[in-house]
Assembly symmetry: C2
Homo-oligomer: 338 residues x 2
């Protein structure tokens, strides 16, 4: 089943291949009558240009990639979907690369993507310092890069992040205003900007209300549910346990909820909860969960827009954007017990 080539189209229309190419890419004037002949030859032969040849000749592809640490995390999925949407509209297909939070896998992928000459890459880096080095090599090849949910060190790329600081500050303030004085935090690893910013938001809210920052109320985890489960269990087993908890991510929430179930505590009677990240089941939970929702799709969409701009040759100085979060009050955060 060999597909027809441009040459055959040219023969059929009685013109040269150059003319066919010109018609296809309309980047040069072609006489109306010839254009017609070419068009109908294309139609007739059901010709479709060979992408592979075009790629070689133009030294470029219509593919963009997104590199994420964990494709099973709904946050990244939703981001990827937002990206896919704008990519599809612009005629690009997207490749999803899952690094499993492993720098080697990430390097391997960036290497391959560089070889394949994707037009651009959205990267959620595994290591804000060491990933940056690899990213710079990619940039040297003329491939556009946008960083998402991470802050790449010393790499001149556009960035897209949520307002992690503000979102957390609002939520924790809400808890304090509900009368909570001992508010715990299950934080993420400090090597990621969003985790740092959420922690800062938490601390700022305490400061805003004249409360002390108590290190005993803060547990740092790796954003995985199992670590969060252990940390929560520990935190809530202490004699003087917090009456409210801020959970720094959806995965953390899953672990913490397991721990709370296990300890037999009531939500929000014994412990109030607010979660960073909305989850599709949050409203179905018992009680429904109060959350700080990120605009995940927009995050991905914006990253896509910025990437496309770069691909089209924009040379604006790179710059970081922050998307607002929404505070969604449901039922898991109530007044502090007396």
């Amino acid at each position: 089943m060999k597909s027809p080539t441009m040459k055959e189209v040219a023969q059929h229309a009685g013109v040269s291949v150059a003319t066919v190419s010109r018609v296809l890419n309309d980047n040069a004037a072609v006489d109306g009558e010839l254009r017609q002949r070419v068009m109908s030859a294309i139609e007739h032969l059901r010709y479709r240009p060979n992408r592979l040849a075009r790629n070689l000749r133009t030294n470029s592809t219509k593919t963009i990639a997104i590199v994420v640490p964990d494709i099973e995390n709904p946050f990244f999925v939703s981001v990827a979907r937002g990206l896919e949407e704008v990519a599809f509209r612009a005629g690009y297909t997207v490749m999803v690369c899952n690094t499993d939070d492993d720098l080697d896998r990430e390097s391997a992928y960036l290497q391959v993507l560089g070889d394949e000459l994707v037009a651009g890459i959205v990267v959620c880096a595994t290591d804000e310092r060491r990933s940056a080095e690899q990213v710079r090599k990619i940039l040297d090849k003329g491939i556009a890069v946008v960083s998402l949910d991470r802050r790449l060190e010393n790499a001149a790329v556009d960035g897209v992040l949520s307002d992690n600081f503000g979102g957390t500050r609002t939520a924790v303030s809400y808890l304090i205003e509900q009368g909570h004085r001992r508010v715990g935090l299950i934080a993420g690893p400090a090597k990621y900007a969003p985790a740092r910013e959420r922690r800062m938001g938490y601390e700022q809210a305490l400061i805003d209300h004249g409360l002390p920052i108590n290190p005993e109320l803060i547990k740092v985890t790796n954003f995985k549910s199992s670590e969060a489960e252990a940390a929560t269990e520990e935190l809530l087993s202490s004699a003087d346990r917090p009456t409210a908890l801020f959970l720094s991510s959806g995965n953390v929430a899953i672990g913490s909820l397991r721990a709370i179930r296990h300890l037999g505590l009531g939500i929000p009677s014994d412990i109030s909860l607010i979660i960073f990240d909305d989850l599709d089941w949050a409203a179905a939970y018992n009680p429904p969960l109060t959350v700080v929702a990120q605009n995940t799709r927009q995050l991905g969409g914006l990253a896509g827009d910025l990437l496309l701009q770069r691909i089209r040759g924009s040379s604006e100085p790179p710059h970081e954007r922050h998307l607002p979060t929404q505070f969604v009050v449901r039922g898991s955060a109530g007044r502090a017990p007396q």
Copy 2:
């Protein structure tokens, strides 16, 4: 930043490009000493072969694609991850295409994937009849196809599905053995094989236990949470409501749980629940949810293996495989109330 070509490597090593190519693909004997020279030239120039040129010449790529109706559905994500794992190991990168259950988008994607000459495609078809037509065109181009979680009509491709029938039959039997006599079913659309098979499994379990099949206890939805919410609300508002419910998918479960919350019913005191699909938050739910778990990663992995076999030229007659499910008892399905 032009990257070095094979020609430059050849010059640097004092050999011909053919020899360099032979060293790279070691598909012909090359003298040890020359091979060394070539290798060190490659090393020295940091040469990496141009994938685009290779693609054109060999008329093939190292990319495979997975086409899914809803990338935000954890089932498909997990499948995609399983696929990605085997693909990565085999040196392929994977493209994820989200059709949003829209046949036009699906066609558009299959079209593009055909043009890009991906090596293979795993497709979770939107329409088991009409997608098949498009798939046949893809096959004609020599692109391998495996169908996943769907049964393509009249398309000679390998298929991978869960044991939907058996999994459901076991679960519903369990409910009946717990004393439930009125077991409801929130089913998926009959146009998908898995939905049909789950329904058949449900009916078979009733038959096995000598219970009548009562159409009033069966609600058909489109697998989306909002429809499931409405259907559940309706089903549970009836005077003679069921004491147990089998929910045909994770999304259905989210909708049904919202409805149950809304009606103020207790799980499992008022209503017992079993869900087809495990969910990462199932064990964190209150009460933890009893589920029929699919081996999602294996599903994707197996599809990948089959795809790779085809890509490597296997011409076995295509054939459908079924993966077993696991019945995971947690707390949402209890004994029937007196």
